[in-house]
């Protein structure tokens, strides 16, 4: 009897700890609130193939055109064939110890193309045969609750993205955009900065960021086509611009001296403290919606011309441009939430919305033009106000100091487990800067040239030689009559775009068909001299708008992609990035790089 009692007691004593251990023991080793050193590694390995389809490019020129079709650039400058042949290994390494964390996120990118070499010996260098680069997206450490509760500090190379909109964030200016890969909208270049967040209460957060050294946008390979385009200098004053078109075309046709921009040199701001950038933001929640307001002082990331020197290059006119990054202040605001739909769809199914807007206060940029050794035109500074006026006048404005606004407004909604739709109105594309929209008219040229057939009857009515009855050139002064003789395709500095897309899931949710497009709602303006049939010199300058759905004004990007999440982190995708529009339109512009098809494989871990 005594032995039996001990037996049962032993069983009970053994059972109790087991039962307690199942429910209550805390042996999880990666809980956020525990101490100790925790590390984690994640990343992916990706192969990316892209093929440029010349025939899909609106600026494609047949071989019979002799190779030079696009504003002086050669067709061969625009790569056809494999546009990308990359392999990327991304490693993100995180170390945590209580309130301290360090993060390193690096991309090792092998480009897949052999570097052009001038000598056989260069092939002995692996970096020429198999070039690669390293991109550091993050190299920082941060401290939570530093000195006081709610105060977080992050120091190092990092990306700070502000704004509630998708991809198009006019309030986010601390990090430059990475425009190198057109398929990666919204990607940014990291920069060394100090970020301090203070969260005193619930969702109220104050953020202060200091960026000591400015970094510009990373541009795509084709950007020089835009910057070096001699007919697209963004001079605000139309009369000076048109004179330049006429004088340039005269020199090319009658003097055998085409104008070529041989150099466009961006000048990096001096690394002094007054050139550092700073941003401040307050975020809060009210009525279950999120708001924030921000301020940024720094520079725009795409360089603008501020000095041009033209000289005699022997067989051409050599134009050298110096570029700088305009200073600006920016005030930002954003707001996001949900529009309730009551009982529709069973309740709780609101439409997501967001509004993000920024007002920019740029510093004015003017571009003096100097000439030397050119025929007809005297040496010295360009005569901006024309031969009839005393002095040369003021250099033309490239960026005016007038404030301007950019914004993104969007909605999204999921209809069911298979279909989601996202819509955005973007006012001011990522590369657009300066006042010029429906609030204030100001345009930039996308093409400009002499137009001698002013009544569009197929015969020249004006004379560019300078000797005819309706001369475009005053050979005594070297000044062109731009008002009468130049035709331009113009766009407002800030365009309007509809960005829309849909996600369709199928095959048990493993496959995703995503179709996105960007439609340019701005259209194009054609500025030309409209003359009376009897007298070509008697007429007026007209600016005609060609809307979105006209052959001249239509421009869009279509981006279909299919992705298959095979499982265990493996993803296969394929698609196209198709640019549509004439050469003078936003997306038909050769500077976009043209249309591509792509295929990717990725393994994430």
């Amino acid at each position: 009897m005594f032995k039996r009692r001990w037996y049962w007691l032993a069983i009970v004593l053994v059972m109790i700890p087991l039962h307690t251990a199942r429910a209550d023991d805390d042996d999880d080793d990666d809980d956020d609130d525990e101490g100790g050193l925790k590390t984690s590694l994640s990343g992916f390995i990706r192969a990316d193939f892209r093929y440029s389809l010349p025939r899909m490019n609106p600026f494609w020129c047949p071989k019979s055109a002799g190779g030079g079709c696009v504003g002086g650039q050669r067709v061969s400058d625009i790569r056809s064939g494999f546009d990308r042949n990359e392999n990327t290994a991304r490693m993100r390494f995180t170390v945590r110890s209580g309130d301290y964390k360090g993060v390193a996120e690096l991309d090792f990118v092998w480009t897949g193309f052999v570097r052009p070499v001038g000598d056989l010996l260069a092939l002995a260098d692996r970096s020429n045969v198999d070039p690669f680069r390293v991109e550091a997206h993050a190299l920082y450490f941060d401290v939570t609750d530093f000195l006081t509760k709610g105060l977080d500090v992050r120091i190092g190379k990092q990306i700070v993205t502000w704004g509630k909109a998708d991809m198009f964030n006019p309030t986010s200016n601390l990090n430059p955009l990475d425009l190198e890969d057109s398929l990666l909208f919204g990607d940014r270049v990291s920069n060394n900065m100090i970020r301090v967040d203070y969260n005193p209460w619930k969702d109220l957060i104050f953020t202060l960021v200091w960026v000591p050294v400015f970094k510009p946008y990373q541009l795509n390979r084709w950007a020089p086509i835009a910057i070096k385009g001699v007919d697209r200098i963004p001079i605000a004053d139309g009369s000076i611009r048109r004179r330049l078109h006429v004088e340039r075309d005269y020199a090319a046709q009658f003097l055998g001296l085409p104008t070529v921009v041989t150099r466009a040199t961006p000048v990096q701001p001096e690394t002094r403290i007054e050139n550092s950038q700073v941003g401040f933001k307050t975020a809060w929640k009210m009525a279950k919606m999120d708001f924030s307001m921000s301020y940024y002082h720094g520079r725009h990331g795409i360089p603008q011309p501020y000095l041009e020197r033209t000289s005699n290059g022997g067989s051409f006119i050599d134009a050298e441009a110096s570029l700088m990054y305009p200073k600006m202040h920016t005030l930002g605001f954003d707001w996001s939430g949900q529009i309730p739909l009551g009982k529709v769809g069973g309740g709780g199914r609101g439409i997501g919305f967001w509004v993000e807007a920024a007002v920019f206060f740029p510093r004015e940029v003017r571009m003096p033009i100097f000439q030397q050794g050119l025929p007809i035109i005297p040496d010295g500074e360009y005569d901006y106000n024309g031969p009839g006026e005393p002095g040369v006048g003021l250099p033309p404005t490239i960026i005016s100091s007038r404030p301007f606004a950019k914004w993104t407004v969007g909605l999204d909604y999921t209809f069911n487990r298979y279909l989601m739709v996202n819509l955005q109105w973007v006012h001011g594309f990522v590369d657009e800067f300066g006042a010029g929209d429906f609030f204030h008219k100001s345009f930039v040229p996308t093409r400009g040239a002499v137009d001698l057939d002013v009544n569009n009857d197929g015969t020249d009515d004006l004379d560019l030689s300078g000797f005819g009855s309706a001369p475009c050139m005053d050979l005594s002064t070297g000044a062109g009559d731009g008002d009468m003789c130049a035709k331009e395709y113009l766009r407002p500095r800030l365009g309007d775009y509809l960005v829309a897309g849909t996600d369709i899931r199928f095959y048990r949710g493993q496959m995703l068909l995503r179709i996105f497009f960007i439609l340019d709602l701005t259209g194009v303006y054609i500025s030309e001299w409209v003359a009376s049939p009897s007298d070509p010199t008697n007429g007026r300058r007209e600016r005609t708008h060609k809307g979105t759905f006209t052959s001249d004004g239509f421009s869009m990007v279509i981006f279909p992609s299919w992705t298959w999440s095979v499982g265990s982190g493996v993803e296969l995708s394929a698609g196209a990035f198709w640019m549509i529009g004439k050469r003078h339109t936003k997306f038909g512009d050769p500077a976009t790089g043209g249309s591509v098809v792509f295929a990717k494989g990725k393994f994430s871990f």
Binding site: D31, D33, S42, T161, D203, G337, Q338, R349, R508, G569
Partner: protein
């Protein structure tokens, strides 16, 4: 004769009272069940989610959830690699945020995603979040067996919910649900959620499901299984700051 009548009367009274005590009101059953399901300050759970496709290998997803009875949740995806690092913060039904590692940004997501399947499974965000029905539904005891109470729930007037009707089966031994049938507006059974196993605290003050199965009848009876990995961790003392966008950004980025 009189004695038999008295005995019969007493028996009838006893029978009536025993029936009455075996069938508490629907409201009491629901309240007791919800109290037990939400009897914690915070809960940390690690789940594996398997979706069994017919004729194919299952897809597997792993995630960690920190949850509070008020409905606040912080979900961290840990597997597979293409979703690893994704964090979802649920503050209320209409306030949800997602951190996407690819964009290094916290994005607010609207309520319309709540009824999407979670990672391709039959579970929705609501299925994973809801542990209270009485604020939105009227309950009626439809049936009672030796082992179960079967409750029929209909949505209260003026309330907006995804499912107008539910059928809950509650275990009488532990007072917790073991099956939910989701019925659409046309009266058709769309899916069934089964709580296959529970793990209870030593004092039985709280029990947590450790295996939940969802069968979607409209998708060829697709089966999704959520199984708890490791321990149920109670009351670690997470403060409100864990369920903020700031914490989401700092823990995810």
């Amino acid at each position: 004769m009189k004695l038999s009548v008295i005995a019969l009367s007493i028996s009838l009274v006893l029978l009536a009272s025993s029936v009455a005590s075996a069938a508490p009101s629907a409201r009491k059953i629901m309240q007791k069940m919800e109290r037990k399901m939400n009897n914690f300050k915070d809960l940390t759970l690690k789940w594996t989610l398997r979706v069994r496709h017919s004729g194919k290998k299952h897809t597997l997803v792993k995630f960690k959830v920190i949850t509070r009875p008020k409905g606040q949740r912080l979900i961290r995806m840990t597997y597979p690699g293409d979703v690893k690092g994704m964090h979802i913060l649920v503050q209320t039904k209409s306030e949800m945020y997602i951190y996407l590692p690819a964009f290094r940004k916290v994005r607010r997501i609207a309520g319309h995603v709540r009824n999407q399947g979670f990672q391709g499974s039959g579970f929705t965000y609501d299925d994973m979040a809801i542990a209270q029905w009485t604020p939105w539904y009227n309950a009626r005891l439809a049936k009672q067996t030796a082992k179960h109470w079967v409750m029929s729930l209909t949505v209260k007037p003026g309330k907006a919910v995804a499912w107008p009707r539910l059928r809950l089966r509650i275990r009488r031994d532990i007072g917790l649900i073991d099956e939910i049938r989701f019925i659409n507006r046309r009266g058709k059974k769309v899916k069934t959620q089964m709580f296959k196993r529970y793990k209870c605290k030593s004092d039985s003050s709280h029990c947590n499901p450790v295996w939940i199965r969802m069968v979607e009848h409209t998708r060829g009876n697709l089966v999704s299984d959520m199984k708890l990995k490791g321990k149920v961790r109670y009351n670690k003392g997470y403060s409100d700051r864990v369920f903020t966008v700031r914490y989401l950004l700092r823990s995810a980025n």
